[in-house]
Symmetry: C2
Subunit: 171 residues, 2 copies
DNA sequence: CAACATTCTGTCAATGTCATCCATGACAGG
DNA sequence: CCTGTCATGGATGACATTGACAGAATGTTG
């Protein structure tokens, strides 16, 4: 996991349709080497999968809301129950003012209401507090931290560096 | 935008490395036809882009938190100020108990604290309430609604149907 | 400490697969 | 009947994928 790997991930996050040749040229490597690195990144699970990003509005999911869910029991299978609701895009167990936080995308406030109704049918759900999103500034992928800035684990410098500084005379 | 388009989007969300031939076979179309449909979906902006999904933990971003930001001014350029912080993955203007909701991924609680400190340097930020995520049930892409279930806009049925049911003898 | 072995990662070239384009044909609606 | 839309099937060139080989970094041994 060096700088080149980080650059590759960044480039693929921007546009995963890039050819390996272009990818290699961008990081100062041959196409084959870039291919091999990306293959290993997938193998190691750092890159989970390749997917497409869908426009929520065009897909008829123009209403976004976050819901804090209060629970009165331990909610064993809550994760599965929430996963079964397609409008729920994320669900997390949280520490703080509620038990679970869910991200909901609906086609209308009316459908949002229907989803909330379904939440109450889940065992252990005692209450909900809904936060409606008025405008989204941005949504983006995970930022892969680089060596400059803040070191990932602490203030020790593992002296990672690019394995080579080629006189990259790519045209 | 018919059922076949929805299926194509769903398949591509699962795995965008699939070949167009496989894609076509899955929906009962030739490879060329599937290619043309996907091309139009991109053109229309329904598919924004192709990207890779990165494992946050492997990328050194094991700590996830949501932060509600209170503002005392109108915060004109707040969106840009938040975008400049790479640890912030999403930022939304919300209606309710705060002005802005941000999703933050940090490598440690210490780094999370550093991000919070940076938030207070933004003009108009008066306070924050942080919700730390203990466990993530799931995170997934936008669900594209189908005709069965709840119609997107209202109870009118445009009578969309598959154009053909070929005897797809794909091996 | 030096010579060697091992391993990792790169370049280059060959090959098969696949994206992409084009001409043609079927179907529905005006 | 004519026209626009959409699918098929084949041709072609680009690209993913693989294998052989080379150099550097690291570890091992005398």
């Amino acid at each position: 996991m060096d700088d080149i790997d980080r650059m590759l991930i960044g480039l693929l996050q921007e546009d995963a349709t890039r050819s390996y040749a272009a990818l290699g040229a961008a990081v100062g490597l041959s196409g084959g080497a870039a291919h091999e690195r990306v293959r290993k990144l997938r193998e190691r699970g750092l890159i989970r999968r390749t997917t497409v990003e869908v426009d929520p509005v065009a897909a008829g999911r123009g209403v976004l809301a976050y819901v804090m869910i209060d629970g009165n029991a331990w909610m064993g299978g809550t994760g599965e129950a929430l996963r079964a609701i397609p409008e729920i895009e994320e669900a997390h167990v949280i520490a703080g003012p509620a038990s679970v936080l869910a991200k909901i995308r609906a086609s209308s406030t009316r459908e949002l209401q229907a989803v909330l109704r379904r939440l109450f049918e889940i065992d252990g759900v005692a209450g909900t507090r809904t936060v409606v999103v008025l405008e989204t500034f941005f949504e983006r992928g995970v930022h892969v931290p680089g060596p400059s800035g803040a070191p990932p684990a602490g203030p020790h410098d593992p002296a990672v560096q690019a394995r080579r500084k080629p006189s990259t005379s790519h045209s």
